[in-house]
Amino acid sequence: MAKQWQTFVGKFRDMREGEIKIFIKDLTPGPRKYDTKFVRAIVKRSKESLPDGDILYIRSESGLKSPEPWYIKIIEELPEYVPGKPWEDVFQAIEKIENII
């Protein structure tokens, strides 16, 4: 069975396909459930586009779950944080490091 992950976005339409950097939470049951990883990964909306991908559930800023999951293939695990100042928007901080590369 495919491994399951979860991520949060502001609005569902903020989620984009392709190779991205993203914080994800591990939904594997047990005492480490919801552990966070920051990864470089390929994400796709449909399973057909990423047949060997894991399942990625999307939740909005209010915690609402998107009816349909996405799919994710992790390329690389990154440090568990992103460079930025306290109270800075994490999504904008991720955009900054993506633009640098």
């Binding site: 966070t36 800023e61 460079p83 100042k85 306290p86």
Partner: protein, 478 residues
């Protein structure tokens, strides 16, 4: 003398029928949160979950330590039947005296019974609950005390802020960017790009947690007031890896550093206004350096949400008394201030000796000058019991002139971004608006034209009132 720790208090709660031990195994993943939430909504007891799925025996979770007025009364040494007015008065009196803390040795501190340092740190050894379905993660810090210090003056601040397990040795959290913690960080650590030592204390004595919700003035330490209320100094012990002192008898201490140059997602979280309203990914990241904890630790939780719960009850008490002091310091003729728990510190009732729209505007100014946590303010005459929301609503309905009796003020950069009715853009900019409802008679009206309230206490003479009361039994009433 007050309670030294969480466990002393539980003994009393148990004697008073205010504690339920749940021995059935429960899941930290949503089940404890759901039980806790339902119990709040049924005005039920404080809970101690004694068997948690995935965790060894002894690792426990509590919920609702101060979730009702009766439990707050007991925490303050009052009978559980004390009225809200009596609880406010006792707390207000307690604040008149400060007793500095006492430093004890490590050997005398139960919170040092177990120590994890550096690479040994693993937050997943604790059953941090997933409280609400759809939250951003497992919140280990809800009913907590977050301690930080001004390195120049030595001022130590205690606050209550949410903290979520990010990984085994990182936390993320959301002290508001206008909080005293943020003030210390932005003034003293950020300019030097230095991490700020921070301790997250879980499961201290009940008064310490209640005071952590209090808006105590800058440069004044909450722990001195806890000592004053308890009538004895709080025993503190030095941390293992950072220069901070923590309550020696608490259950768990997480020692860490708030990083000046690293961030990670926090939230969303079902917050104290009773909604999960989109505040996320704009917080802080803490690298955990050590965790110390008692044997058989109790992780204190609030399944936060719609009132009442520990947050709305404790903040009702601590915020109101602080507001009353602040308004009196500004020369406003305040008789009482009430923060109804149902209003989740968004709605404030202020009783005044003499009202009018000018006084109401001065009340509004007080609430909007600095960081603004409130937005609706009802000003009533002193004949209205501010603790009786029936009387307050009656005054609002009948005395507030919709044209002349309402004033409001917009501001930016200091609003409470947890306020559910603000748009996402307003939340981002901390843009807000506050209103005052003047429910008093205009002071320029002569006495002879002021409508007479048709209540027993106000429309009849003393003689008639006394006669009716004297004869009450003879009329056949029991």
């Amino acid at each position: 003398m007050g309670f030294k720790d969480h466990r002393d208090f539980f003994e009393l709660l148990e004697k008073e029928g205010e504690l339920l031990r749940i021995k059935e195994e429960v899941d930290w993943d949503l089940e404890v949160g759901a039980i806790g939430r339902r119990v709040y909504e049924l005005s039920g007891p404080c809970l101690l979950f004694e068997r948690i799925k995935d965790y060894p025996e002894g690792f426990r979770i509590s919920n609702g330590t101060s979730g009702t007025w009766s439990r707050v009364a007991l925490a303050l040494g009052l009978p559980k039947s004390a009225s809200v007015r009596e609880i406010y008065k006792a707390y207000e009196k307690g604040l008149e005296k400060k007793i500095p803390p006492k430093i004890v040795r490590k050997e005398e501190a139960p919170c040092k019974e177990n120590i994890m340092v550096g690479d040994e740190v693993d937050l997943y050894r604790f059953p941090a609950p997933m409280i609400h379905e759809g939250d951003g993660g497992r919140y280990i810090g809800t009913w907590d005390i977050v301690i930080c210090k001004d390195p120049d003056t030595g001022w130590t601040n205690w606050g209550m802020y949410r903290f979520m397990v990010h990984t085994k040795d990182w936390l993320t959290g959301w002290p508001q960017s206008t909080s005293q913690l943020a003030l210390i960080f932005k003034e003293k650590y950020q300019p030097k790009n230095r991490p700020m030592p921070i301790a997250i204390v879980i499961g201290a004595d009940p008064v310490s947690h209640i005071l952590a919700t209090a808006p105590i003035k800058v440069q004044e330490s909450e722990v001195d007031y806890v000592g004053g209320i308890r009538g004895e100094p709080v025993e503190l012990v030095p941390c293992e890896t950072i220069d901070l002192l923590v309550p020696a008898h608490c259950e768990i201490v997480i020692e860490g550093e708030l990083m000046p140059d690293k961030i990670a997602p926090d939230g969303p979280f079902g917050e104290y206004p009773g909604y999960r309203s989109g505040t996320m990914c704009q917080g802080v990241a803490v690298k955990v350096r050590a965790v110390t904890y008692r044997n058989d630790p109790i992780l204190t939780m609030i399944s936060l949400g719609t009132p009442p719960d520990d947050s709305s009850i404790a903040a009702s008490l601590t915020a109101a008394v602080s507001m009353k002091r602040g308004l009196l310091n500004r020369g406003i003729p305040v008789t009482d201030v009430y923060v109804p728990p149902e209003g989740v510190t968004h709605l404030i009732v202020v009783g005044v000796k003499k009202g009018g729209i000018d006084i109401a505007r001065r009340v509004l100014d007080y609430f909007t000058t600095r960081r603004v946590m409130t937005n609706k303010h009802i000003v009533v005459d002193e004949d209205v019991d501010v603790f009786n929301m029936g009387e307050v609503l009656h005054a609002f309905a009948t005395k507030c002139h919709p044209g002349r009796g309402i004033a409001y003020e917009w501001y930016e950069g200091r609003a409470n971004s947890l306020t559910p009715f603000y748009s996402p853009e307003e939340r981002r900019r901390l843009k807000g608006v506050s209103v005052v409802f003047d429910c008093t008679w205009p002071p320029e009206w002569p006495d002879e034209i002021i409508p007479v309230k048709a209540s027993f206490n106000s429309i009849y003479s003393k003689e008639i009132q006394e006669k009716v009361i004297r004869n009450w039994g003879r009329y056949g009433f029991k």
